[in-house]
Symmetry: C3
Subunit: 283 residues, 3 copies
Amino acid sequence: MSTLHGKERKALGDCLTAVHEKTPLIHNITNYVTVNDVANALLACGGSPIMSDEPKDVEDITSICGGLNINIGTLNERSIEAMFLAGKRASELGHVILLDPVGAGASALRTTTAQDIVEQLHPSVIRGNISEIKTLAKGAGTTKGVDADAADTVTEENLDEMVSFVKAFAEKTNAVIAITGAIDLVSDSERCYVIRNGRKEMSRITGTGCQLSSVATAYAVANPENMVDAVATAVCLMGLSGEIGWSKMQDGDGNSTYRNRIIDTIFNMDAKTLEEGAKYEIR
Amino acid sequence: MSTLHGKERKALGDCLTAVHEKTPLIHNITNYVTVNDVANALLACGGSPIMSDEPKDVEDITSICGGLNINIGTLNERSIEAMFLAGKRASELGHVILLDPVGAGASALRTTTAQDIVEQLHPSVIRGNISEIKTLAKGAGTTKGVDADAADTVTEENLDEMVSFVKAFAEKTNAVIAITGAIDLVSDSERCYVIRNGRKEMSRITGTGCQLSSVATAYAVANPENMVDAVATAVCLMGLSGEIGWSKMQDGDGNSTYRNRIIDTIFNMDAKTLEEGAKYEIR
Amino acid sequence: MSTLHGKERKALGDCLTAVHEKTPLIHNITNYVTVNDVANALLACGGSPIMSDEPKDVEDITSICGGLNINIGTLNERSIEAMFLAGKRASELGHVILLDPVGAGASALRTTTAQDIVEQLHPSVIRGNISEIKTLAKGAGTTKGVDADAADTVTEENLDEMVSFVKAFAEKTNAVIAITGAIDLVSDSERCYVIRNGRKEMSRITGTGCQLSSVATAYAVANPENMVDAVATAVCLMGLSGEIGWSKMQDGDGNSTYRNRIIDTIFNMDAKTLEEGAKYEIR
């Protein structure tokens, strides 16, 4: 471990090992588009998934889990009620809550729901694209459907500004904030990981962001004292799996096979490969 | 472009290029069985998917999209309400609406819902198997679950009759009608594409029809002045991808791998391959 | 056929052949996590799937099917109502009903719903892990989420006791009971299949249990006079497919590819391979 900003930093490989050893059970209230990949990605990384979005069921279910992953990708009135019931119980129990505000900025219902979750449930981690996070931070954004607006991209040119933004929002929400895109930022207000793993072709698969959110929940649960390091590790893991998965693509393969290759790579990842392949700096 | 029936025909390759260039964003209200494959097929063909079926969310979501794909495969009271709300907004905005009447004829609710959508929302495109389309056209059919009844098949023997039927139904509904099966028919009342791409093994995978409907929506959105050509192109694309995907199958592969191969082939399709592999005549 | 306990036993290969010949249409009310794999596994084994969970739709849909597969993995108020409506209609029609009590013991709603289904719908087959079945049998269990609790495992040491337990529960419920795990037990009270196919890596894929339940429904429907043999055949088929699928794994493959390999193997299974690979004894 190295020391930075007065807090010890947990190495990526140690974060991974903790997940493998603890097999955290994660309650997912998530969209029905990518839910199967979310479950298999959680199993691949060493966690264990359970899904429930019925208000009468979620308090019991979340009680036996270690963390709660809330993804609003196909929210509805029933699942929104379930999110708040599960979230309140999870809060009482001191569980990790991660929010993935899919499409915040694209509809009033999504924006309002995501804002209410931040204010009322105080999630430990918020992970989204830059448009979604800006919508939460500033009450306005230009989300293009479920993808980030190009005008919102984190680039080498605006990196300093973006690092300041994510640190400030982390401080305001008292959460670990993860903004993912071509360059990923993960911050707990004191430090900010700037991560350059991943491939642009990952955006041609549905659900890599949703998978990351569930994996990051497992990482946060297994490494409760080092949540920013844990979430950054999950982001590196996902991006590196995208790189290694792509390297295995053969003639004729496309996005469906790429999806399988990425989850397979998460399944086979070990601490050494992750440490060697992770590309990040800390600011 | 060639001229036929007084209207210019847009070449298949040009229809494909338009999708690749425009990346149409498609709002899908679809079933939870095949929704992941629908999203990946849309991404594979060059489109972009968003899913929402909550009445309070769908009007905002459909407003930022270019087209709406309504699939009643696992309809429920909430999603039916969402279909009509989204459809009315999409109509007001002049968006393409495609209806996939999954299981029309198999239950009263499905038949009624599909008929109401045709009458109230006036979809630009209707795509189904012959049993489903007959149910809509004649108010009666012998749908066998979600598959067409064998007694309803389009064959070489009844082809003339079927071409007349599809043209008449296209005229009545003022929509492009696509009937898919061993022989596919796509018509806008003036011309009828008779398409012989595809493989029978595709019926051993769930969701190739659902995928086609979403891809056809993207094609119609990207080629608004040539909708019958665009939908026929999507049908050829899907069938040809089934043929090429099958040619890559190896010993021990089955329907799960075949599913991946088809989406991968859509991902890699270019205009030249499509033009050379498409098997169709126009009547 | 051999005779045992006064009842003729149908060979595994004959059970498989019956499914291939009859293509049973199965109505599935199942969870949205694994539903796509359930549909493809049903198609792979020679059955045909239809999904519907809307109360106003399910009675019509189940009427045109041969059997009903009820899986409570992501139950909600609407789908619970649909389960009972479909179940009552299926009962009236003499259809096979299979219950997969996912997570019984993990929440009050799941436990109560599963118990009510057993009491009111009298399913022909109940398939679950040992924790779920114990919960149903004894009104108490220690389900760990959707996985069995380690303390509940069927082992060589407690096998005699477990065989007695499953026979007694089969007699009490007048159903075929299938308990799956490292050792699988399938009993109709008179005989008990003890099955040792499968691999531990199957638990790293979401949904192999759900797939088995749908396949077992198809097997029971196609072999109505030999339901215990049919369900045991489905259990052997799933486990053997897990073994053969694993033998095809290559360097870098993980749980996502393994999922595909298993379904592919079901697709390619023939009577001879199944008979030769099945590992079971009858007690």
